[in-house]
């Protein structure tokens, strides 16, 4: 072997060794996401905070869509005219439409998944004890379960409010990806399941004992009910009362339709009882301060403009949210409830974008900011829910009295003289509910319009293409009412179900 060749051979061997050394690839972590989370006391707080945070980013869509569909307000922006044209029913948005897309759906199920993770691990959570560490005390486990189950029911309620007759899959969360899906439940069974969740939550909070404190801190918007299990149970019952009214209507009507039917009286009675026992959220005494939602008794999503937090999602659009002329026709502009939110931009300064002809010159500029809370449930709202329950029972006088109570105490207006009959009481309730809670992401007026089968009547002032006579007939079968009363099941959900989204009532 020549000299150079002899020198080259060891160099080759050295390089071959370098190849061998270089062949183990380093693992690069995921810098932008979490990699597992232990169920410790410290992590429990983050998990629970995450559960409360779940839908805050998307709650603005709930507001924009349900308030527009209820013909209260609309978001007029030149760059996205569908906030007017689709939400108010002037153009079509069926199941394949990407505009409303996964709004009030994906984030909510995702948040429910987080809650189920907490619930599934409550027994495994370890906390410091006198002897070192141990499981959460049984009473706190019950209290935590009750709070989380209430939160879960709350998220399902948002979904149910936007889908109603289209149904909701209630038992799908946590199923393996790719497994055969469980059926979409019809509205009646959805509300029944929600009521059952709230029953279970209320039971656990009761077992925990009213004085039992929670092992975690809750967001400031829950301050009224987060002191102990007893106060939280008031929130749970307030939600259950609302859910029971929906259950009463959905049980009393033929499945998958919007006829009134005969609301279930027992559920109505239970709803009334729930709401009246929902202190500290509920009080029969009303104050003028409640004209501003944040000053009312209630539970709220809270927001912040600090970094890595979520600011009020409506705030960024607020001044472009204009009260519709339909609503203005029955609103007194001196009403404290109206003044608390809306200001007059003047006739020449209204919106200039598509659909401007249906807007008034009043827009949402008062008591709104990046830090402004959005109600989950509040006392004024509960007054109207009580009134609806009494209306459904035929107790028109009580319903009118409840509504007049809000009108005078909160609105600062004289009591209205309303005939104690169904139509007058109903119309009075809807008008006063509108001015009291519009833009608050509660969805009650849309619920009521559906339950009271007023969707068609409401649509008469709109394009011939809208409403059940227009939009619904564009869809094969013509039996589903899309965005004029409900948001379609998202394309992602229907696609993954191969289009089989017919609700079942097992």
């Amino acid at each position: 072997m020549h000299g150079a060749g002899r020198r080259a051979a060891p160099v080759l061997l050295a390089l071959a060794s370098a190849v061998a050394a270089a062949c183990s690839n380093p693992t690069v972590p995921n810098y932008n996401a979490l990699a597992g989370f232990p169920h410790t006391a410290a992590s429990l707080q983050s998990e629970v905070t995450g559960a409360f945070d779940g839908v805050r980013s998307d709650i603005g869509n709930f507001q924009l869509f349900t308030d527009g569909m209820a013909r209260n307000t609309a978001y007029f922006t030149a760059s996205e005219q569908r906030f007017v044209s689709v939400v108010t029913g002037e153009s079509f948005a069926g199941a394949g439409d990407l505009f409303m897309g996964p709004s009030v759906w994906d984030f909510y199920f995702n948040a429910i998944k987080g809650i189920d993770t907490i619930i599934g691990n409550i027994g495994a959570i370890t906390v410091p004890t006198a002897s070192g560490s141990g499981p959460l005390p049984a009473t706190q486990q019950e209290a935590l379960f009750g709070a989380m189950e209430t939160l879960k029911a709350m998220y399902y309620m948002y979904i149910a409010q936007t889908r109603d007759t289209l149904g909701v899959p209630v038992n799908e969360v946590g199923h393996p990806i790719g497994a055969p899906p469980t059926p979409i439940l019809c509205a009646r069974d959805v509300w029944s399941q929600i009521v059952a969740m709230l029953d279970s939550a209320n039971d656990s909070l009761t077992v925990a004992g009213s004085a039992t404190a929670f092992p975690v801190a809750m967001p400031p918007g829950f301050a009224l009910v987060s002191g102990n299990a007893g106060s939280f149970a008031g929130f749970t019952r307030a939600l259950r009362g609302k859910a029971r009214i929906e259950l009463a209507y959905s049980s009393g009507r033929p499945v998958d339709t919007l006829s009134i039917g005969t609301p279930n009286a027992a559920q109505l009675d239970s709803a009334i009882a729930d709401i009246q026992s929902a202190a500290p959220v509920y009080s029969a005494t009303l104050s003028a301060a409640a004209a501003v939602p944040a000053a009312d008794l209630g539970v709220f999503h809270t927001f912040s403009t600090t970094s890595n937090d979520v600011q009020n999602p409506i705030n960024t659009n607020a001044a472009a949210i204009w009260v519709l002329q339909d609503a203005m026709a029955e609103i007194d502009t001196l009403d404290n409830r109206f003044v608390a939110k809306f200001g007059d931009a003047g006739a020449a300064n209204g919106p200039t974008s598509v659909g401007a002809h249906i807007a008034s010159s009043w827009h949402y500029v008062n008591n709104i900011s990046g830090n402004a809370p959005i109600p989950v449930v509040r006392n004024v709202e509960l007054q109207f829910l009580l009134a609806r329950a009494h209306l459904a029972k035929g107790d028109f006088a009580t319903a009118i009295a409840l509504v007049n109570g809000v009108r005078t105490a909160v609105g600062g207006l004289p009591a209205a003289a309303v005939a104690a009959d169904y139509v007058d009481a109903r119309n009075f309730l809807l008008a006063e509910q509108r001015v009291s809670t519009m833009t608050e992401a509660l969805g009650d007026r849309l619920d009521a319009l559906r339950d009271l089968n007023l969707v068609a009547a409401r649509d008469t002032t709109w394009s011939a293409r809208s409403g059940p006579d227009g939009i619904a007939n564009q869809i094969a079968g013509g039996t589903k009412d899309f965005q004029t009363s409900v948001i379609a099941i998202p394309l992602g959900e229907s696609g993954a179900r191969n289009g089989n989204i017919t609700p079942a009532c097992p």
Binding site: T49, G50, T306, Q474, G492
Partner: protein
């Protein structure tokens, strides 16, 4: 491939080399000679002279001289030099001196095509279609960035502008759509002097001001930020040549980074002999090349229109404004008619000493933007040094630094009404918007939310980039003899870029105070760092011990790492007048970090047989990436190719080469897709867990691109005509996809591998010198490319890919569906009353043609280049903006389109066919005698030229320019025209001096 097998192969190779080396000794004699230009007998330095069939060679000196020791007996010498056709001369048994004349390679018949790390092959033998673009082609006309100079010139590479904004922003797509979601496939891989360099496109954070992405949770960086690819940092004048590896048979050497093609850039290196200075000075301007037909009003119409718009002005005010503009306020020319000039200075020196070659260059330039208060300035410096340390050891190093400042204003999509053309779309032309109040402020625009002139002058959008790239190699060649050579090459490089965007929109702007802006005043600060490092170690053995056979064996390892750090601070609700982020009431921070490590091991065998008529290459590259699910799994990327040359097969045909190739390359998954996207978010001081909506796939793997290509190349009529034809099929499998998960499970998407896309195409090239008569020559070249893509199958339901979802009606949108093109535009029609979507065209052209013609008459040269694209669609959202505000002059058209939109149709999807005069240059070379008299021997050459780029566009597209992409570079999703920075044309007067 296991590590063990690599070691065994290496040891075997070592033993073979040792044996070969022992038998390779023989008596030798000394040959000296000169290489000269056949036209003027001038000596040619830097020519490579090799004893044919061996690895023995030398380079010529500044005087064209060389000296070699050649084996005894009859031999021949092969001589090659860039720019000249190769020549082979026989040496007599006793001959010791030779002069070789080389003919200029006007049609670029002879080029060395890179086939691996340290290996290359003559283009005569290349088995793949790898177009090479040389410096003269790149620098024929002043160019904003390197990609501009390539538009239309490379068959198979679709190079398109995103907008007319200064500072670049183009997309290069090689042989069709390569992926749907794998972002690494969005651009080809760039390799400069053997070292991988980043072409990252980093969003600037403009979204914080434009609200283009319309995030309810805040506005951080977005793909709608008018991104610029960082290859814009390279100075085109530094480039010697660019080679496009289009098929996987060529790009397989880059494994899971090669599926979108590879562009190999060779920068200029030192010339032989004494220092040579080159100076280029250019002055010129960029100007608006097209405008939209904005509506004109009579005074009576203006009064009525003002009422229709809510009557924000009184009748007297309307008349006053109307008269101030003589009836038409020409916003387009006022806003985009910047009269600022541009200039560019390039200077370089290159030369060599006995052991050192050097090249040093500097660039300083400023490109004005058409829009007021926009522009692009850049300075760069490059040093390339080659040091011959010993006769067997050579070191090369290059170092480049560039600094740029781009100001692009606010254009493209927005959700406020702030972009220039968005503003013009809703502001009637009778309103004198470009007017100041007595206090110097601009008038309030009563017809919308913003005043474009105030925004253009007071919104600051500076983007500074500082970048250092360094590379080098050590080339150790311990064995060189008659039968073999052995070479070790260590290549390494690093690329550090910092992009700083510091944008500011004052709180008192009308748009910041509008109802749509909750927090008046926005100030952003983003400082992105992109760091890339890579190295390779290669062993190359060349064997020429058997007559007529050349075998080149190479093995090696590669390693590269790329990290991105992207912090962004957005401060809003600023105290008036203060831009400091600290003084914003609302402050939001965003942070993204990515890191990917790739490693590979490869082996390749390249054979030249039958006196270089038959070329056979085979190889395999195995690569692993930290982005893969299994980080230690090496995925194989094999390749094989063959070509055969038929010499003078028929009258008039000098040579025909048939070729065929097969290869596999890949694309690594995106960073992080193997993980669930869980995160944390604040909730009034407490961090809460947010479970991700997208499930990761722990088994994710690279996309695989399997290519077959075949073709022929022919030289005709004694080298006066060349033709080339290639057909290919490119099949991409294991696509990175987001499968629809059932959202009611808590996940709405899951990353998976699956599905298949096929691209099939044909590429034709012809070059000729039809006339060479006396002092007149005409050189012409044409290229044609056609690519058809189809999604063969999808394991998921049809879907609209992200960042492109403007819906189907009225604009048209993208949809990935089996049986259709992945880049198809889908629109909506109404069939029996039911909205129905259907494919209505494609964003990628059916075919492209490039026409190049160069005429010379003595010292006078005329260069033209035309770029034609046919059969593609563009979605014109801009037109819909104007229609919505009834602000187009064609009111009948507006009514027609508006009615179509209301009916659920797709009226804003247009044919984008165009023919562009991309380049036009008239150059005059000053006579040498004149130079000698004026410069007293100082000047080697001098020329003056007048050039223009994008001077004329012939198209029926009604928008500003069919060459447009709102979302910048996209795998799919180009061709969406959303109030872009308008297109420009440029003119430059240039002086080139050689000293």
């Amino acid at each position: 491939m296991s590590t063990r097998s690599v070691i065994v192969a290496a040891v075997s190779l070592a033993l073979a080399i040792a044996a070969g080396h022992a038998s390779g000794q023989s008596p030798a004699r000394r040959i000296t000679g000169r290489i000269v230009d056949s036209a003027d007998q001038q000596p040619l330095p830097a020519a490579q002279v090799i004893v044919t069939g061996t690895t023995i060679g030398a380079a010529t000196s500044d005087s064209g001289a060389f000296a070699l020791r050649v084996p005894a007996g009859t031999q021949s010498l092969s001589v090659r030099r860039i720019g000249y056709r190769a020549a082979t001369v026989r040496l007599g048994d006793a001959q010791t001196d030779v002069t070789v004349m080389l003919h200029r390679d006007i049609l670029q018949l002879e080029q060395q095509v890179i086939t691996g790390v340290g290996t290359s092959i003559s283009s005569r033998n290349a088995a793949t279609q790898d177009p090479v673009i040389v410096s003269q082609t790149i620098n024929a006309v002043a160019t904003p960035t390197i990609e501009n100079a390539l538009e239309g010139k490379v068959p198979g590479a679709l190079i398109s502008d995103n907008s007319g904004a200064p500072g670049g922003g183009l997309q290069v797509q090689v042989r069709g759509t390569t992926s749907i979601y794998a972002t690494a496939a969005g651009q080809p891989l760039y390799v400069i002097d053997g070292v991988i360099m980043s072409n990252a496109a980093i969003p600037s954070g403009l979204n914080s001001i434009s609200n283009a992405a319309n995030n309810t949770s805040g506005n951080g960086p977005s793909p709608q930020d008018q991104e610029t690819n960082r290859i814009a940092d390279i100075n085109p004048a530094d480039i010697e040549s660019m080679q496009f590896l289009e098929g996987s048979a060529a790009s397989a050497i880059y494994g899971d980074k090669g599926a979108a093609g590879v562009i190999l850039i060779t920068t200029k290196h030192g010339s032989s002999g004494k220092p040579q200075y080159n100076l280029t000075q250019r002055v010129g301007a960029f100007s608006l090349s097209n405008t939209l037909p904005v509506r004109r009003f009579t005074l009576a119409e203006a009064q009525a229109d003002n009422i229709n718009r809510g009557g924000p002005l009184t009748a007297a005010q309307v008349a006053e404004n109307y008269n101030a503009c003589n009836g038409f306020c020409d916003f387009q020319h006022q806003l985009y008619g910047s009269g600022a000039g541009s200039w560019e200075t390039d200077i370089s020196v290159s030369g060599s000493t006995s052991s050192t070659q050097y090249f040093v260059s500097g660039l300083s330039k400023y490109d004005n933007g058409a829009e007021i208060n926009t522009g692009y300035q850049k300075q760069s410096l490059r040093t390339n040094v080659v040091q011959h340390i010993t006769s067997t050891l050579t070191a090369a190093a290059n170092l480049a630094y560039s600094a740029s400042l781009a100001r692009r204003g606010v254009n493209g999509n927005d959700n406020l009404g702030i972009a220039g053309y968005d503003n013009i779309s809703y502001t009637p032309s009778y309103f004198n918007m470009n007017k100041r109040n007595p206090d110097g402020s601009f008038v309030r625009n009563p017809y919308g939310v913003a005043n474009a002139f105030d925004d253009a002058r007071r919104i600051l959008t500076p983007e500074t980039v500082n970048r250092i790239t360094a590379g080098g190699n050590l080339d150790f060649k311990p064995i060189t003899n008659r039968v073999q050579s052995l070479q070790f090459i260590l290549q390494a490089g690093a690329d550090f870029a910092n992009q700083k965007d510091q944008f500011y929109a004052p709180a008192d702007l009308q748009v910041e105070r509008s109802p749509l802006s909750a927090f008046p005043g926005t100030s952003t600060y983003q400082s992105a760092s992109n760091q890339l490092a890579n190295y390779s170690i290669s062993i190359i053995h060349a064997f020429t011990g058997v007559r007529g056979i050349q075998a080149t064996t190479s093995v090696g390892i590669t390693h590269d790492q790329n990290a991105l750090f992207l912090p962004d601070i957005v401060s809003q609700n600023l105290v008036a007048g203060l831009a400091n982020q600290q003084f914003g009431v609302v402050q939001t921070s965003y942070y993204t970090q990515q890191n990917v490590v790739n490693q590979g091991v490869y082996g390749q065998e390249q054979l030249l047989l039958f006196n270089e008529r038959l070329a056979v290459t085979a190889g395999i590259n195995a690569e692993a990436s930290s982005n893969d699910g299994g980080v230690n799994r090496y995925y194989p990327f094999p390749k094989a190719s063959v070509s055969y040359r038929f010499l003078a097969p028929a009258r008039g045909i000098d040579e025909i080469k048939l070729r065929g190739a097969y290869g596999v390359s890949g694309t690594v998954p995106n960073y992080g897709v193997k993980f669930n996207a869980d995160s944390l978010r604040g909730y009034l001081g407490t961090l809460g867990i947010r479970y991700g909506l997208v499930a990761g796939d722990p088994n994710i793997k690279p996309e695989t691109n399997t290519d077959y290509e075949t073709g022929l190349d022919a030289t005709l009529f004694k080298g006066k005509v060349t033709v080339g034809a290639t057909v290919y099929q490119k099949r991409i499998t294991d696509l990175l996809l987001q499968a629809q998960a059932l959202p009611s499970t808590g996940f709405n998407q899951q990353w998976i591998n699956g599905g298949e896309i096929t691209n099939q195409g044909i590429e034709l090239q012809i070059a000729a010198t039809p006339i060479t008569a006396g002092r007149f020559t005409w050189l012409t070249g044409e290229n044609f490319a056609r690519n058809q893509a189809v999604v063969n199958n999808l394991p998921v339901p049809a879907f609209q890919p992200g960042f492109t979802a403007f819906g189907y009606s009225p604009f048209g949108g993208y949809r990935i569906q089996a049986g259709a093109s992945p880049s198809a535009f889908w629109g909506q029609t109404i069939v029996k009353g039911v909205p129905t979507i259907t494919a209505m065209g494609d964003a990628n052209p059916a075919f492209t043609i490039g026409f190049s013609n160069d005429f010379s008459y003595g010292p006078l040269h005329l260069h033209t280049f035309l770029d034609m694209r046919r059969g593609f669609k563009v979605s014109d959202l801009t037109e819909q903006y104007f229609d919505g505000a009834h602000n187009y002059n064609d009111t009948a058209g507006t009514n027609r389109r508006t009615a179509a939109e209301a009916a659920g149709l797709t009226p804003y999807l247009y044919n984008g066919d165009y023919l562009k005069l991309r380049e036009l240059t008239l150059r005059y070379d000053l006579p040498f005698g004149l130079l000698d008299r004026v410069g007293r021997g100082v000047f080697r050459n001098a020329s003056i030229s007048l050039s223009g780029r994008n001077l004329v566009t012939w198209t029926r597209y009604p928008g500003l320019d069919p060459d447009v992409s709102n979302f910048s570079s996209q795998l799919v999703g180009r061709g969406q025209d959303v109030t872009p920075y308008p297109p420009t044309r440029s003119y430059f007067l240039s002086l080139d001096l050689g000293l």
